[in-house]
Amino acid sequence: MSSLLGLTAHQLQGLLEKKEISSEDLVKEHLTRIAQSEEQIKAFVTVTGQEALQQARTIDEKRSRGEQPGSLAGIPLALTDNLCTQGIKTTASSRMLRDFRPPYNAAVVEKLQEAGAVSVGKCNLDEFGLGASTENSAFFPTHNPYGEQAVPGGACGGAAAAVAAQEVVFALGSDTGGSLRQPASFCGVIGLKPTYGAVSRYGLIACASSLDQVGCFTRDMTDCALVMNVIYGRDAKDSTSVSFPAGDFTKFLVNDVKGLKIGIPREYLQEVNDPRITAYLQQAAAKLEELGAVCEEVSLPHTAEAASCYNLILAAEVSSNLARYDGVQYGLRVQGEDLVSMYKKSRSQGFGEEVKKQIILGTYVLSSGQYEDYYLQALKVRTLIKEDFAQVLSKYDCLLTPATPTAAFDFGAIKDNLSLLTSLNTLTCPANLAGIPALSLPFGTAAQGSPCGLQLLGRAFGEETLLRVGYALEQNTNLTQPSPAVKGEM
């Protein structure tokens, strides 16, 4: 039997349905891969091999009884470790939650289980989702499968690396300001951040509630649509979630972009540091025009303010969301001589540097006397950014931008490099501020063969267009599937 690694969910499904392979074999093969590659990649905080095999066997039994075991039955996946899993450690890569086992599953985890997908473990991230490289994980950094010196991106670098290293078929993560799309770009996989409210946030350990969305990493557009079919939809446990009228997303996988109007925001191009990325974007635009779409340069005038606006809103919400980790009920408690010293010691020792920085900044911008000058200003800028998108997207079906200004950078490179961080955020955070859907699609390789990605931005609930354009690029170019990061016989 040839290796099953690197195949997509829809390819594997065919094999499983025809009973050419079993879920158990499929999961075993991925667990073996994890055992081989983890020393190098370090994508996982927790591997749940026993649970995964047990679940795979159950799926196989169902299938042998002729039951329909679900749309993603038996397919191995990974979850970013800020998605709550009942009885299984959920750490958010923080010392604070090192031993935290939630008594409940995140809504998306429940949905995946119903669809029969098999989680093989929990992936590393920047602590509580704060970072762009996984270097802020309290445990260890994850390595980019395309180059050991390179970061996988972040915050959800572990999940992106796990898919790229063929440790799993797909993965779920969260996107607060690019935490899913940026690592997808660095690791050569697809990353989708849904429209705000399209996917339940219940059980996602909050980073910044008004920006967070759960999304997915996949190897191709078809898998992306299949995972969307499972995780989308209104959830009574999240009052910011809404019902999504799309139905089956695979019906938008049509090789046809005729008549679509695609805008290319010039402010985004100005952020790019690698000329190859600009060239790829132009190549993609040319291909889309060739296929009948119209591509035009557009302007989103408040793009330059987006990163500062994002920094303030992020910090404010983080300072509030992370206030609950006080050592009282769960998580790390460091005893002190009195209540206040217990608070101080628990939070000082439980949180890492970046988290503390965000909490201090957020506490400051919400404090009386500063609120109007910082937080309120940020809210106003957020409205302007939303209006920019509303205006442009009333004339264009979607926008095409680079996903990242560079390919994956080396460890240590982002620390104290504010302009790199600002560029990264400028390309990805506006979609979170505006709540619109965004897709990061691998497109060619930049320096040293590292993958790099393009980004598609759509109207709120306009995922359909992103799927169509992404699918057309996938079908009509050979740039969306970088060669495997790790050889099968590693």
């Binding site: 996602l204 446990k237 999240d238 910011t240 609950r324 006080d326 769960y330 919400l366």
Partner: protein, 482 residues
């Protein structure tokens, strides 16, 4: 000459909503469950959990607002109020800061016969915190403290008055009025002892005629109507003394000590928290349909003021009686129901205000728990009205009925308590008594009226109290003058 001071008081009242479930999760709100049994990951503030608005809580807040003449806001939203304390699981309380659900209401109170309108600034929705049980006196002096989160996430409304109250008595009357309205509308259990009604006061003094407010203090820990009044009376005197001695009032929070009967400083303004309010991103704003608000308005019961007016104007009760009867909905409903069955409002009022309230207070029972139903009450009053039993018997029957819940007819029968009004039967006994007491007969005939009373008493004694005293009186007079 000393300055005359005017008292300025505003109250912040918290009332726990009587919804079946908590405000942002589906845990039950029952009082008195075993510690930490009415909890879920949501009201324990676990990571990744999200608040879900309880529609009933919104409805109750609107009910309260309508009953208190507020402007109901079509748009309101939730904010997070941040502070660290172990009874607050997320370290922020979900509350309404910027856009409350009700604004600008009022209630009317009457103190010493003078009516006064007290304005409400706002009513807003928020969640309650849990409870701490300290091993020592306070969290700072305790070896350890235990946390019970059953109360965490219970729905509250906070009713904030304008500083329109000018005495401790007015403050107490205002609070009693709010209590009645919230009870009538079914919004809250309003039990101060159980903490479902809580009250803080802002209080300051200023020279009479001054338009500028004096420095205020905030008084906490007042757990009954009486302690509210006592605490405010104490604080008024304290502030007056400070001012008269030429001192200045420090803006601070002061706690009422029920045992010592004093207020003392808890923390100064400088130590006050910066709550860092901001819009809660997890909850969409509340947008009310005007039609829904009108539906709620239409469903409001008769409110205390209207009920009181009706009792005075239509049923002829005194202001005082009407005030007491309408002070609680349960009592007013009991009265109303009894009157529909026995249409003599004044008699019913006398019984309700007299025997009924006396026994309720003596036994520490609530109207709702009482074994006396309006049906039984009316039956008893009918027996008295028809002369079947005497007033004295009625009281005895009532007492037994109150304790046992038995039907009055049954009690009357068991005790053999039938009043003898039959003149033939009584005539014989009267003859017997007259024959046995010649001295009294002579005294009466000599003009000593008192002797009649003695003779009546003798007849009552002979009949074991069952004779109808009116009939006996008549018979005696008749025989004595024959």
């Amino acid at each position: 000459m000393s300055t005359e001071y005017e008292v300025v008081i505003g109250l912040e009242v918290h009332a726990e909503l009587k919804t079946k479930t908590k405000i942002f999760c589906s845990c039950p709100t029952e009082f008195g469950g075993e510690e930490n049994t009415h909890v879920c990951p949501g009201c324990l503030g676990f990571p990744g959990t999200l608040p879900i608005m309880n529609k009933k809580a919104v409805e109750y807040a609107v009910r309260a607002g309508l009953a208190l003449n507020c402007e109901i806001q079509e748009y309101s939203k939730f904010d997070r109020k941040h502070y660290f304390y172990p009874d607050l699981p997320t370290a922020y309380q979900i509350s309404q800061f910027e856009f409350p659900i009700c604004k600008a209401g009022y209630v009317e109170i009457a103190v010493n016969g003078k009516k006064k309108k007290i304005r409400l600034n706002r009513i807003h929705l928020e969640e309650d915190a849990g409870k701490l049980l300290h091993s020592g006196n306070s969290i700072t002096s305790s070896q350890y403290s235990l946390a019970d989160y059953n109360r965490s996430g219970m729905g509250l409304i906070e009713l904030v008055s304008e500083p329109d109250l000018s005495s401790a008595e007015e403050a107490r009357t205002y609070l009693e009025k709010l209590r009645a309205v919230l009870e009538y509308t079914g919004v809250s259990d309003v039990k101060m002892e159980q903490g479902s009604l809580r009250c803080d006061a802002n209080i300051s003094l200023r020279p009479v005629g001054s338009s500028k407010l004096g420095t205020k203090t905030e008084i906490k820990n007042m757990n009954s109507y009486r302690s509210l009044q006592r605490a405010l009376e104490y604080e008024i005197e304290r502030q007056r003394e400070v001012l008269e001695e030429g001192g200045t009032i420090i803006q601070e929070t002061r706690g009422w000590d029920e045992e010592k009967g004093i207020t003392s400083s808890m923390r100064s303004k400088e130590e006050a928290d910066d709550y860092r309010y901001f819009s809660d991103p997890d909850l969409p704003p509340i947008v009310l349909e005007p039609a829904w608000v009108e539906e709620i308005r239409a469903s409001l019961p008769e409110l205390p003021d209207a009920k009181k007016d009706r009792l005075v104007m239509e049923l002829g009760l005194s202001e005082y009686d009407a005030d007491i009867i309408t002070g609680s909905r349960a009592l007013a409903d009991f009265f109303d129901k009894t009157v529909t069955l026995f249409n003599e409002p004044k008699t019913v009022a006398n019984w309700v205000m007299g025997e009924y309230l006396r026994l309720l207070n003596a036994e520490g029972t609530e109207v709702q728990e009482s074994k006396v139903s309006p049906e039984k009450m009316a039956a008893l009053l009918k027996s008295q009205a028809t002369g079947k039993i005497s007033g004295k018997m009625a009281k005895a029957v009532f007492e037994e009925m109150f304790m046992t819940g038995k039907d009055p007819e049954k009690i009357i029968k068991e005790k053999g308590l039938v009043q003898i009004s039959d003149t033939d039967a009584l005539g014989e006994i009267v003859e017997k008594v007259l024959a046995a007491n010649p001295q009294s007969v002579a005294d009466y005939q000599a003009g000593k009226e008192k002797a009649l009373g003695f003779l009546v008493g003798q007849v009552m004694k002979e009949t074991k109290g069952q004779a109808n005293p009116g009939v006996v009186n008549g018979l005696l007079k008749q025989k004595l003058t024959d």
